[in-house]
Symmetry: C2
Amino acid sequence: MSKFNFDNLWSEKSTDAQRIITDHAKYDFAVAYPPFEGVPLDGLIDGLRTKVDADSQKVAIEMAYYPHVQGDESLREFTSKKLLDDRGIKCDKESLVLCNGSGEAIGLLIQALIDPDDYVITEQFVYMGTTKQLTYFNANIVGSPTDEKGLIPEKLEETILDIKNKHGVNPKMLYTIPESQNPTGSTLPKQRRIEIIEICKKYGIPILEDDCYVDNRFAGEPEPAFASLDDSGMVIYVGSFSKLIAPGLRMGYFTASEEVIDRALSVKIGSGPNQFTSYAIDGFLRSNLESHRNEYNRLLKGKKESMEKGLIEAFSNTKVKWSSPEGGCYTWLEMTDGTNLSEIRDEVFTRGVGYISGDNFAPNGDGQNMARLCFAFETVEKNYEGIKEFASILKDLKAI
Amino acid sequence: MSKFNFDNLWSEKSTDAQRIITDHAKYDFAVAYPPFEGVPLDGLIDGLRTKVDADSQKVAIEMAYYPHVQGDESLREFTSKKLLDDRGIKCDKESLVLCNGSGEAIGLLIQALIDPDDYVITEQFVYMGTTKQLTYFNANIVGSPTDEKGLIPEKLEETILDIKNKHGVNPKMLYTIPESQNPTGSTLPKQRRIEIIEICKKYGIPILEDDCYVDNRFAGEPEPAFASLDDSGMVIYVGSFSKLIAPGLRMGYFTASEEVIDRALSVKIGSGPNQFTSYAIDGFLRSNLESHRNEYNRLLKGKKESMEKGLIEAFSNTKVKWSSPEGGCYTWLEMTDGTNLSEIRDEVFTRGVGYISGDNFAPNGDGQNMARLCFAFETVEKNYEGIKEFASILKDLKAI
């Protein structure tokens, strides 16, 4: 039978790009994965068992339904209580929307607020998942200058004015990860948050706060959430269970004012999120949130310290700098100007060490002398060994 | 603090439509839910346990990853074997894509192939989830005439020619549910499938085969899948675990030629489907597919028969007709011309009986004298009682 010809049938927005299948280096610091040793498999199964044993008929009926568009009521209730306890955010189950990962939440919010050619401001270096989505929906992304503490309020106002002057439009949104930022690991101080809210309010720009690393704090205290510092409705708050439990659960959420939720759901196609997984998370976290989080962060702390030990031993007598975050999954590495970590990435990968060079996180493509190193996934031993190996490869390639 | 003003910030495609929250009638025949009594809660938990016990470190590592864009490898392997065994479809794990329900699969395929204003042909009455998605992406939907066996090949060719003549374009796709169709319950005979493939090939129109009810057969044998009758690549095959296990799992899939898969994945935003749920399904079905399916269909058969008993007792001396399907979840009710089941729907709902009137399934809005009754969800007793109650309400409203 001859092959059917699809040539003139593809939609304009589809492409014939090859599927991206992630390949892993021996020492994989390129990933964005939490500690696999802490994934509570037994706890999740027990969580399911608890829910089923409590009322198996109710669970069976709910499983036979197509899920509520906002997701499981009990998990929404639990999550809203968690947001109040942990972040001082007042929301109830009606103003919470569970999604297939925070990625779906961010996608819905982008689609609710961004038209093609609109301007969105982010940190100078920012999570690629969000910039990919913004690019897919044809937004213009402008990174605003940051320092080791994150966004700089005065520079943010300059960025806003610059967009207004150059392009004659007001930016439509500020997207930020204020806690243990991806990729830099920075945490934004309270005072800056207050100033940023004032600036954004002045120009009528809503803030999309992505707080997906707040549970991963292994030192110090988190700063207050943007969403707790404002009650005008300008802050849209996104969270996730990916970094608290596991990405394989695909469960995140957002909370916002009613009108924002309605708009976001108006662009959602398909039904609510995974009911089965909601039971496991709800059943597990209701009894184990504190103990699990403590254990997870103990693991993270050990991993961060072992990577740092490697960094100190390998790079102390060089001009290489790195961030030392108190939470999250990443260390941000900065080499001298002119070093091109982007160019040598494939070679270093082949020799056994994976990382993502800084330019991948920068809307303007800067940062080729920088890299994100994930310390959260590999074991303590591999974090240490891998960094030593990394330094030795860099030396070999005459990059340091 | 004054309220932040979003008025000029919404995207063009968002709307301020209110969220649709499904409300349930006492006798809820409006739903599209499988038998809740058959949801294998213990089996799914045991399935998870089996996977974890077999290799807990592998599972923990995979859970800490963001899932493969095509979904869990083992479940893809199992599903491709199932498709060969049950449907004679040759595919391997590389050509199978797991999705958040078949709805996501259909959405990706629509986006890969359909531009705004393109024409898509469906059955005369067809699944609302698909027509909603087609409408969201601004496709023109044309229903092609059907009889009690489904699409009529000669009429399909007329529909194609009609679109070509009237609009000067070739339809871009045929979407069909050939087994135990939603909403009518019809199953398309093999000979018609062969003829439809020939017609679609003649005009260069790919077929999107939605086979989501094939596992729910409680009498007779399924007809061969379109995808097994063609090897040109023109058939894209979509399946689901929603009606084999439960919708709350949000797990469906599609298989197609490599170029179609690449195009569909090129419009996918966000990562692969739920890894946790994949383990439960894979672990459960590898040991229990046959026994579970038999039990599920035994339940379905009992439910279908009890609803039919009610229909026979209540409507035998009237002009009301109904379909008697050998599988799936629905009976299609047809009242005399002039009876408006759409108009009285709210009143009947308030009095305790839910259904969906036919016009909701018709791209041209016909079918107000028809209705879809789901026999799969309510108990055997409620199916019988509810139909008697339905007849009594209709009598009271002078609709029969």
